[in-house]
């Protein structure tokens, strides 16, 4: 509930910021806005392959159905060309469209709520002047009842939206604060890495402690997890964000790879170091300098390919080991130790996760970055049982983990995840509500009737 006064203050502040921004060099502002748009990864959702940039149409599968991103080019007929700076800010930070309707939190406005006015102004400048207008409508989003009633989002926002912008912590360094601002705001890490409650809101007390996205799993990146042995260092974190690889053997796949390719890898090293500083509390180990992720040897020696491949040994292989040998060893080597620069699996952080979903997803979908060597997916080559077997071989035989995955889970991953109960919870809840109201109405009628009788 906002008091009108507060709103007025906010509006004045924003207008002031915009005015200041106009006074500054426009081109610089647009450029800054462009960088911020990369940091916020707007293109990941608002740009779709085969369509003009930022013209929307990217399908986002949610447990409730497919949500299509909108056209945020400055088109006056199909985009946000008519938006005032205030309306732009409202969409970005409160999830409210110019027509007053609500956005679904597929748009991570709950994170962008942290943005300060200067950054909003820069983004506005970029989207209004730095992006080509495209007069094309993307497909409309049509979620099933009752979620097609966007007004239901007002209730959700009332329950879960924190509109306080970011406030720097004076006890921390400027670098830490910059990292915090980015992680909490533009980079919107917690929208994936924080588990959600049954109404799909982030569980704030478990921030960044890991969450399933239905198929891929966003790992626990809270300080405790990052510090667990073998610990990440800040340099490793920054390297990982920059390239998708780190000296501890981590390789990025799935949605994180996409985020790295479209966003993190195009941010400044200073910003990546800042985020790493924020995510990892200070410690001597954390501050260790970057161990050479790619030792610049003159001619690196070839990794030996070894192992017992006699008929006896082959026949004695478990199903998982055999699937591994025939599908994985050609690149990852016979024992998972990596091969001539192709990734090692032996110490891979994925093998220490609390579930094996990411391993299975990498096997199903492959890892195919825009640039650089990729890995084929095995959805066509292997069935659910084989994928489960080789995943368990990796987790347990190679990784020493106790975690396992079932063929049923692999089947669910193939299908895009378990169906969410949310739709049925909501519909069931409404049916229940109607029944309750009916019951009350009947009781009331009976009461009135019996009242008049006699």
């Amino acid at each position: 509930m906002r008091k009108p006064f507060k709103r007025l203050l906010a509006l004045l502040s924003l207008l002031g910021a915009v005015a200041l921004a106009h006074a500054a060099d426009d081109a610089q502002l647009i450029k800054r806005g462009e960088y911020l748009a990369v940091a916020g990864d707007c293109a990941a959702c608002h740009s779709e392959k085969g369509r003009a940039p930022f013209s929307g149409g990217h399908p986002i599968s949610s447990p409730l159905g497919t949500i299509y991103s909108t056209n945020i080019t400055p088109s006056k007929t199909h985009g946000i060309g008519q938006y005032t700076p205030e309306q732009f800010a409202a969409a970005l930070r409160r999830g409210v469209r110019a027509d007053g309707s609500n956005l679904y939190p597929a748009m991570p406005y709950t994170a962008y709520a942290r943005l300060n006015d200067e950054d909003v102004a820069a983004l506005y400048a970029y989207f209004m002047q730095g992006v080509q207008p495209v007069d094309q409508a993307p497909p409309a989003t049509a979620l099933p009842f009752p979620f097609n009633i966007r007004m239901s989002m007002k209730a959700w926002n009332w329950l879960f939206l924190d509109t306080k912008p970011f406030e720097p912590d004076p006890a921390q360094s400027a670098q830490w604060n910059r990292g915090a601002y980015l992680v909490q705001g533009l980079a919107h890490c917690s929208t994936c890495h924080t588990p959600r409650n049954v109404l799909m809101a982030e569980q704030l007390e478990r921030r960044l402690q890991g969450a399933s996205l239905g198929t891929w799993y966003a790992p626990d990146i809270s300080p405790a997890a990052l510090q667990a042995k073998p610990a990440w260092t800040r340099a490793m974190l920054a390297d990982y964000l920059a390239s998708g690889h780190a000296a501890n053997g981590a390789t990025a796949g799935g949605p994180m790879l996409e985020a790295i390719e479209k966003s993190f890898s195009r941010m400044t090293r200073e910003d990546l170091d800042a985020m790493a500083t924020y995510l990892l509390p200070a410690s001597p180990a954390a501050a260790a300098p970057a161990s050479a992720t790619a030792p610049a040897a003159a001619v690196p020696a070839l990794t030996p390919v070894q192992g017992d491949d006699t008929p006896q040994a082959l026949a004695a292989m478990s199903v998982g080991a055999r699937v591994y040998m025939n599908n994985c060893a050609s690149c990852h080597n016979t024992g998972g130790q990596g091969l001539n620069g192709l990734p090692s699996l032996q110490q891979h952080p994925l093998l220490r996760q609390p579930n094996a979903d990411n391993v299975a997803m990498a096997i199903l979908e492959g890892v195919l970055p825009e640039h650089g060597q990729g890995m084929i997916g095995f959805a066509h080559t292997l069935n659910d049982g084989e994928i489960a077997a080789v995943t368990n071989y990796l987790m347990q035989d190679l990784g020493g983990s106790k975690v396992s995955i079932s063929a049923e889970r692999v089947k669910a991953l193939r299908a895009g995840g378990e169906p969410s109960p949310l739709l049925w919870v909501a519909r069931g809840g409404m049916v229940l509500l109607v029944l309750v109201l009916l019951g009350v109405a009947l009781w009331w009628r009976r009461r009135s009737k019996s009242g008049t009788a006699g």
Binding site: T191, G254, L302, T310, P311, V319, L339, L364, G377
Partner: protein, 221 residues
């Protein structure tokens, strides 16, 4: 909720996976499938023994498949005994591995030969080479009696020792090639551990294993 994009692929529900069809006549020595073996693994282990079957008689294949699935460990035990049905002459137990390794070391002039691989090679040779035990003893004796033979540049045994020279080449082939025998009785023993692959491992990777990320082969080896 920034969810992952929708799956780009339609995953077919049932991928057809044929039974392993044994088209190459390699005799695969089975091991008892481990406790974790699934029915499919057993199917495959059994499949390895349909050496002369080659899908000739599909109804028989089906019967065997069912029988195999039902027989379980018992069947595996039966097949485990198969490779031991060798004649007394070729019984591996009568060919001491140490003798084979000693001769091998002399012929290769290497001291680092793997006894494990040697055992596997010997087992295979005992199937493809008649009278292996006797012939090996003969070769061993010859090398002991005439050490000058190994000072020559190439193998050139006297005419009456032609068979020993033949065996010597076969043994060298086994270590360097990983395959013994010819034609229908050819047997695979190892691939990544052939001495040849080991020899070039500073420059090459055995085919079907990766040299490295795309383009890594451009630099001078």
């Amino acid at each position: 909720m920034h969810m992952a994009g929708p799956c780009r692929f339609q995953y077919p529900e049932n991928l057809l996976r044929p039974l392993l069809q044994s088209s190459n006549k390699v005799r695969r020595i089975p091991a008892h499938p481990g406790p974790g073996a699934t029915a499919r693994h057993l199917e495959r282990a059994l499949g390895a023994f349909h050496l002369d079957d080659d899908m000739t008689h599909p109804t028989r294949r089906r019967v065997l498949k069912v029988a195999g699935l039902m027989a379980g460990a018992g069947a595996a035990g039966l097949f485990w005994s198969l490779p031991h049905r060798v004649t007394a002459q070729n019984n591996p137990a009568t060919v001491p591995v140490d003798d084979f390794l000693q001769v091998s070391r002399q012929l290769t002039e290497r001291q680092d030969l793997s006894p494990k691989l040697g055992t596997a090679l010997l087992l295979a040779l005992s199937k493809t080479e008649k009278d292996l035990a006797a012939r090996l003893q003969s070769l061993k004796g010859l090398l002991q009696a005439q050490p000058a033979l190994l000072q020559a540049e190439r193998l050139a045994f006297p005419a009456e020792q032609g068979d020993s020279e033949k065996l010597a080449r076969i043994i060298l082939g086994a270590w360097y090639d990983g395959v013994v025998g010819k034609g229908k009785s050819a047997q695979y023993v190892t691939y990544i551990n052939t001495l040849s692959n080991g020899l070039v491992s500073g420059k090459l990777v055995p085919p079907s294993f990766s040299y490295g990320p795309c383009g890594s082969w451009s630099r001078q080896p």
